[in-house]
C-alpha cells in the first residue's frame, strides 16, 4: 500500500466520525496552542525585560545602602561624601560619573489637576548617567543646585496627567506638595522600567529636595548612587573600585559590606533566569494539557479498534498483514495529532497576537515572540504524542486473531 492511499483512507475513516475526530483533535489543538502561546509570552517577557534593562543605559551601576538579604545590622547610609569619593578619578579611575539621588513620592498639582509621582532630587550628572533626553526645555544645572532653585523637570506621563498634554508646558508653575515649582523641561518618553514607569517622575535639584521636600535625618545623606563606568568593559573594575572606597569609608569588616553594588549585567542575568523559569513553568503546564490530549487520542483509538474489530478481521481475511493494520491505525492517530498540531500552532499564534494587542492597548512594551523553535517543538511533540499514544491501540488491532475478529459482534 502506498503512503498517499494510506493517508487518504485514514482521512476517510476519520471523516466517517466527524464529531469524535473533531473532539479528539480539539484536545491536541488546545495543548499545542497553549504550548505555543505560553512559550511566546515567556519569550516576549524576556525580550521586553532585556530591552528595558538595556534602555536604562549601558555601563550603569547602582549603589544601594545595606544588602538584599538584610543580614547586616545598622548599615551606614550613603552620603554625598561617598559620592564625591567615588567620583574622584584618582581613587576610582574606571568611574566616569556619579549621580547621587534622593528618592521619594510627592503629589503634584496644577490648577485642579493632581497626580502622585516619584520625586528625585538629583545633581546635573543624573541626566548623563541615566541617559535622559529632554523633548523641550533645559536640564537642571549647577546654578539650580547652588541656589536651591524651585525648578522641576517632568516626565511625559506626569506632564500629561496634570496639563493634559506632554508638551508646551515649560515655564508653567506646578505645585509639589503645595510648594510652587517652575517647569524647566519635559523628558522623552521611555516606557516602563524596572522601578515602575520612568515616565511618571518629577526631577528637582538635590539641594532643593534636601532642604524642602525629602527630609533625611543626616543632612548629606542620599538614597542611591547612580554610577557610570568609563565603558562597558570597565563595569567589573568600577564595581571593585567602588566597593574598596565604600569599605574604607564605612569601616566595614571584611566580607560584611553594608552596601550593594548592582550592575546592569546582574539585572540581566537575574531577569533572564526569572523569565527562563517562568517560560519553562508555563510551557510545562501547557505540556500537561498536550499530554492529556494525547491520552484522548489513545482513548478514541482504542474505542475505534473495538468498534472496527470486524473490519480488521475482514482486512486480515483479505490478506492484510500485521504491518498493514498497524500502519493503518498509526496513520489515523498520527493524522489526528498532526491536524491538531497545525491548527494548534495557528491558534497559539493567534492567542500570542491577541496578548500582544492587549499589551499594546494598555501601553505595555511587551510583544510575544512566536519562535521557530517553539513551533518545531510543538509540531514534533504533537506528532510524537500521536505516534506514542497510537502504538498501543494499533498493535492491539494488528494482533487480533482473524477468526476471533470476524466472529466479533
Amino acid at each position: 500500500m502506498n503512503l498517499a492511499q494510506t493517508i487518504f483512507e485514514a482521512l476517510e475513516s476519520l471523516n466517517g466520525n466527524k464529531m469524535r475526530s473533531g473532539l479528539t483533535v480539539l484536545g491536541i489543538v488546545i495543548g499545542v496552542a497553549a504550548v505555543i502561546a505560553m512559550l511566546s509570552v515567556g519569550r516576549g517577557a524576556e525580550a521586553s525585560i532585556t530591552g528595558s534593562i538595556n534602555g536604562i543605559g549601558t555601563n550603569l551601576l547602582f549603589v544601594f545602602r545595606g544588602d538584599f538579604s538584610d543580614t547586616i545590622r545598622n548599615p551606614k547610609p550613603l552620603t554625598l561624601g561617598d559620592a564625591q569619593a567615588i567620583g574622584d578619578p584618582f581613587q576610582a579611575p574606571s568611574v566616569a560619573a556619579v549621580a547621587p539621588a534622593l528618592q521619594g513620592n510627592a503629589e503634584l498639582s496644577f490648577g485642579g489637576e493632581r497626580t502622585s509621582t516619584q520625586l528625585f532630587g538629583v545633581t546635573p550628572d543624573y541626566f548623563t548617567v541615566r541617559n535622559l533626553v529632554l523633548t523641550e526645555g533645559v536640564y537642571i544645572t549647577e546654578e539650580h543646585i547652588l541656589g536651591r532653585a524651585s525648578v522641576v523637570v517632568l516626565g511625559p506621563e506626569t506632564a500629561e496627567a496634570i496639563f493634559g498634554h506632554p508638551d508646551g508646558v515649560t515655564g508653567e508653575t506646578v505645585r509639589i506638595e503645595g510648594q510652587p515649582f517652575r517647569v524647566l523641561g519635559v523628558l522623552e518618553a521611555r516606557g516602563g522600567g524596572m522601578f515602575g514607569s520612568e515616565d511618571n517622575v518629577a526631577i528637582i535639584p538635590l539641594s532643593t529636595a534636601q532642604a524642602r521636600l525629602i527630609r533625611r535625618n543626616a543632612n548629606d545623606r542620599v538614597d542611591v548612587l547612580f554610577v557610570q563606568a568609563a565603558d562597558a568593559d570597565a563595569v567589573d573594575q568600577a564595581t571593585e573600585e567602588i566597593s574598596q572606597i565604600l569599605r574604607t569609608r564605612h569601616r566595614t569588616p571584611i566580607g560584611a559590606d553594608d552596601f550593594t553594588v548592582f550592575t546592569q549585567r546582574d539585572l540581566l542575568s537575574t531577569f533572564a533566569s526569572i523569565t527562563g523559569i517562568l517560560t519553562i513553568f508555563l510551557g510545562g503546564i501547557a505540556g500537561i494539557s498536550l499530554l492529556v490530549g494525547g491520552i484522548g487520542i489513545m482513548n478514541i483509538m482504542l474505542v475505534s479498534v473495538t468498534e472496527r474489530t470486524r473490519e480488521i478481521g475482514l482486512r486480515k481475511a483479505l490478506g492484510a498483514r500485521k504491518r498493514d493494520i498497524l500502519i493503518q491505525f498509526l496513520t489515523e492517530s498520527s493524522l489526528l495529532s498532526l491536524i491538531g498540531g497545525i491548527i494548534g500552532i495557528l491558534f497559539g499564534w493567534f492567542i500570542a497576537y491577541i496578548v500582544g494587542r492587549i499589551a499594546a492597548a494598555t501601553n505595555t512594551a511587551f510583544t510575544p515572540v512566536v519562535g521557530g523553535d517553539a513551533i518545531l517543538l510543538a509540531t514534533l511533540f504533537s506528532a510524537a504524542v500521536g505516534l506514542f499514544f497510537g502504538i498501543y491501540p494499533a498493535s492491539r488491532a494488528a494482533n487480533l486473531e482473524p477468526v476471533e475478529a470476524l466472529r466479533y459482534e
Binding site: E12, E311, L314, A317, L318, G319, A320, P402, V403
Partner: protein, 254 residues
C-alpha cells in the same frame, strides 16, 4: 489427480480455561481443482473450525494441510495472510463490506494488500461487471440491496484469481429468490473460471446444488452419510426428515 486441497488428519484443540475442546479430531479428505463442494454439519460439529483451516484463517493443532500444493499448516501469521490474499476468496454470510467506501474500492481492497499499484481500478471494474454490477461501481454498500452487496463481495472474492472460493452461508442473509441468484452466480463463475468452490451451509437445498457434500459430526467426517458420494442420494432423505419435524413443532405451538 489434481488436488487443490489435501487435508491430512488435521485436528484442532481449543483451550477454554482448564477445559480442552476438541473441535476437530483428525479429518482427512481431498478436493479436486474445479470441484464444487459443500460442508455440512450441525452446530458444534467443527464445521466453522474446518472452514477456518481451509481458508487459512487459523492453523490446525495437528496434521497437514496442503493448499494448491503448498504446505500451509505450519506458516506464520503474515505468511498465512499472503496465502489468503493470493489463493483464497471469501464470501461471508453478512457480506462484510466496508460501508464507508464505494463498491469499487471494496473490490480493490485485496489488490491493495497484494501490493498491486497500477491497473487496480480496471481489474475491480471488470470483476464487478463479471458479477453483473457494472452500473453500481460508485455506489456505497448502504445504497445497495442485500443481493447486490453479496455480488460485490463475490467480485471481491474473485479479483485475485484465487485457487478456492470459501463461501460461508452465502445465502444465509438473503431471501430465497436472491439466494438462488447468488448460488447461480457462484456456480457459473465456477464453470467459467474453474475456481474451486467450497460452501459451508445448513441448507440442504444449497448442498443439493454442489457436486459433493462433506458432512461433519463431532469433529469427525460422518462416514455413514458417505461424504464422497453424490449428494443426490442423501439430500432428499434429509429433507424428508426435516420437513415433518418442523411441521410437528409448529403444530404443537398452535
Amino acid at each position: 489427480m489434481d488436488n487443490v486441497i489435501e487435508v491430512r488428519n488435521i485436528s484442532k484443540v481449543y483451550k477454554m480455561g482448564e477445559v480442552e475442546v476438541h473441535a476437530l479430531r483428525g479429518v482427512s479428505f481431498d478436493i479436486e481443482r474445479g470441484e464444487v463442494i459443500s460442508i455440512m454439519g450441525p452446530s458444534g460439529s467443527g464445521k466453522s473450525t474446518l472452514m477456518n483451516m481451509i481458508g487459512c484463517l487459523d492453523r490446525p493443532s495437528g496434521g497437514d494441510y496442503y493448499l494448491d500444493g503448498e504446505l500451509v499448516s505450519s506458516l506464520t501469521d503474515d505468511q498465512l495472510a499472503v496465502i489468503r490474499n493470493k489463493k483464497v476468496g471469501f464470501v461471508f454470510q453478512s457480506f462484510n463490506l466496508l460501508s464507508r467506501v464505494s463498491s469499487l474500492a471494496n473490490v480493490e481492497l485485496p489488490l491493495r494488500y497484494a501490493g498491486i499499484t497500477s491497473g487496480r481500478r480496471d481489474l475491480a471494474r471488470a470483476a464487478l461487471e463479471a458479477v453483473g454490477l457494472g452500473d453500481r461501481v460508485h455506489h456505497r454498500p448502504t445504497e445497495l440491496s442485500g443481493g447486490q452487496q453479496q455480488r460485490v463481495a463475490v467480485a471481491r472474492a474473485i479479483i485475485n484469481n484465487p485457487a478456492i472460493i470459501m463461501a460461508d452461508e452465502p445465502t444465509g442473509n438473503l431471501d430465497s429468490k436472491v439466494g438462488h441468484e447468488i448460488m447461480d452466480l457462484l456456480l457459473s463463475l465456477n464453470k467459467e473460471r474453474g475456481t474451486t468452490l467450497i460452501i459451508v451451509t445448513h441448507d440442504s437445498n444449497i448442498a443439493a446444488q454442489t457436486g459433493r457434500v462433506i458432512r461433519l459430526i463431532d469433529g469427525l467426517l460422518d462416514e455413514s452419510a458417505n461424504g464422497n458420494k453424490p449428494i443426490s442420494e442423501t439430500a432428499p432423505v434429509e429433507r424428508k426428515q426435516a420437513g415433518p419435524v418442523k411441521e410437528a413443532e409448529e403444530g404443537s405451538k398452535l
